[in-house]
């Protein structure tokens, strides 16, 4: 009986260890292929080059256009998601009564549950044509449409995390403010939001990380032309869309072109991982503040 219990415990432990194995696997796979890539392409060319044409006969491997594309779309998404998400959170946390909250929150969560390929469809075939009626120079593939749609997709994340942070603020602070004659708006903006600042910032950073890692919306609607630009009206390509582009093709294993997806993947992983760590650290801090 003793031995059986011991075997069971070891078995369960191994299953738990699999998650560590996954992380190790991700890092190992990305590192090995990136190392092979960097043996042929100097890292300075990769990180600081401004032309990304790895599939040409005389290729360039400067990743900055992809990074610019990702940054541009994410920025637009954040401009949509952050203010709207924060305002929604303020409304749900400070104004709405529990009945309203019980209805509105799940519907808001629905936004997060829609598959990204559906959002891509929406961005390409509804939002971009709609925008084209107001912005005549808007290309069919651009950064603006998918950026806005991505913002809507991320909004629930910002809203719900910010709301958590705000609800963790002790009521005593609010009551003190009301007692001084402040309105709800003043209390929310001047007392609650600053008090929940670390938590809200953690939410924002996590949202950015999510936007950076998003693939299908941009693969469908942003285009496949890597371009180092801040212009949201023209076609670009993001890091994630590039990986999809190559995967859809016939690139044989072991070639330099094949390895580019891992090098870009490594960059993506490092970026999002850093952002996630930062967000976790901030969230830990706000929890400690109010525990």
């Amino acid at each position: 009986m003793r031995r059986f219990e011991f075997v069971i415990e070891r078995g369960l432990f191994l299953c738990a260890l699999l998650s560590v194995g996954t992380t190790v696997g991700i890092i190992a796979v990305l590192a090995v292929e990136t190392a092979a890539f960097l043996r042929e392409v100097p890292i300075t060319d990769f990180l600081f080059g401004t032309e990304w044409t790895p599939l040409f006969s005389s290729p360039s491997f400067g990743v900055l256009p992809l990074v610019a594309g990702t940054t541009l779309v994410s920025l637009i998404a954040m401009l949509v998601a952050l203010p709207m998400g924060l305002l929604s959170a303020i409304y749900l946390s400070e104004y709405a009564n529990s009945r309203v909250r019980r209805v509105l929150k799940p519907i808001l969560e629905l936004l997060a549950g829609v598959p990204t390929v559906v959002y891509g469809y929406f961005a390409l075939l509804f939002v971009t044509p709609l925008l084209q009626q107001f912005i005549p120079g808007l290309a069919g593939f651009n950064a603006l449409g998918p950026g806005i749609v991505m913002g809507i997709m991320i909004l629930p994340l910002v809203s719900s995390l910010s709301e958590d942070a705000m609800r963790a603020v002790p009521n005593g602070l609010r009551e003190g403010s009301y007692a001084l004659g402040a309105t709800k708006m003043q209390t929310s903006l001047r007392v609650v939001v600053p008090a929940a600042f670390s938590g809200i910032t953690a939410a924002f950073i996590l949202a950015v990380s999510r936007a950076v890692g998003e693939t299908m919306i941009v693969a469908i609607a942003a285009g496949q032309q890597p371009r180092l630009t801040w212009n949201p009206l023209v076609q670009i390509e993001t890091m994630t869309a590039y990986i999809v582009q190559v995967s859809l093709g016939d690139t044989p294993q072991g070639t330099l072109e094949y390895r580019t997806i891992f090098a870009v993947g490594m960059l993506l992983f490092v970026g999002t991982f850093g952002l996630n760590l930062l967000s976790s650290w901030l969230r830990q801090r706000y929890r400690e503040e109010y525990s």
């Binding site: 415990e9 292929e33 299908m216």
Partner: protein, 280 residues
């Protein structure tokens, strides 16, 4: 004056919230408008074709169902086992803390990275090829953090008094877990599994990356066969310039959303029905 500013702010915040919901409504209306006409029995059971009006979605539908079933078979036992270890056995040791932290981080890794992992390890290294099982393994890794989290919550919800009663009768730890804790936690675990699967069924990027094809004219006939899934088929059709294919894409979206709603509804029903009173 301040009062009206406050009211304006409140209205503004509410408007923003409603705007987001309006966007969702616009999306739904748009898809319904574009796709309902194409949604028919022939469409669901038909095969892809170069003529948009004759194209069907069956291989993708079958592929999705097979992949999801395989993902469930892989993710459930491993996820539950890991959660049991973390919640019941490893509460106070350092390795368990490290594993927990690791799982939290994994949950936030972009899904396309999982595709790269699946490509290198399952497809190439382990020689599974671009098969359904490799796809399912990739998605299982993706689903694991959610399953583990949901299972841990379900385990935590089991009252301590039940465990104590079992130990006092001379039960071992595993006997207590298997006979008393798991049966009580089971509905919560299943609900978590279904929810994680409903997310997995909409995943596109990891499967494209690990090599699911975009043009497949057959349903998968074994776990080693190549495959495609609903979201990839939708992606394929949306990427074509012809408007007729866009209608197909919209119909495919309706099908996918229908599947999602069913799964989520099932999860919610399960949770409500089996939320029995466990302690008097």
């Amino acid at each position: 004056m301040r009062r009206s500013l406050d009211l304006a702010f409140q209205a503004c915040a509410l408007l923003v919230l409603l705007a987001a919901l309006a966007a969702l409504a616009a999306l739904i209306v748009d898809v319904v408008r574009d796709g309902t006409a194409r949604l028919s029995w022939d469409f669901i059971t038909g095969y892809p074709s170069r003529r948009a009006s004759q194209a069907g979605i069956f291989p993708a539908l079958a592929g999705s169902i097979v992949v999801i079933l395989l993902t469930a078979i892989l993710a459930l036992p491993i996820g539950v086992a890991a959660a049991i270890y973390l919640e019941e056995y490893g509460r106070r040791n350092f390795v368990a803390r490290a594993i927990e932290l690791n799982i939290t981080n994994l949950a936030a890794v972009p899904s396309i990275i999982y595709g790269l992992l699946g490509l290198a390890v399952f497809v190439r290294l382990m020689g599974m090829g671009r098969s359904v099982i490799a796809g399912a393994a990739t998605l299982a890794l993706l689903a694991l953090p959610v399953v583990i989290l949901a299972t841990r919550e379900a385990l935590r919800a089991v009252p301590k008094s039940i465990r104590e009663g079992s130990y006092a009768l001379g039960a071992t730890k595993w006997q207590t877990i298997w006979h008393q804790v798991l049966p009580v936690a089971a509905p919560g675990i299943l609900t978590g599994l279904i929810l994680s699967l409903s997310r997995a069924i909409g995943e596109t990027a990891p499967l494209i990356t690990m090599g699911a094809l975009t043009y497949v004219s057959f349903a998968p006939d074994s776990i080693w066969s190549s495959f495609t899934v609903l979201p990839i088929q939708i992606f394929n059709w949306v990427s074509r310039p012809q408007r007729d294919f866009h209608a197909n894409a919209a119909a495919g979206i309706l099908l996918l959303m229908g599947l999602l709603l069913t799964m989520n509804g099932l999860a919610i029903w399960l949770r409500d029905r089996y939320q029995k009173k466990v302690a008097g």
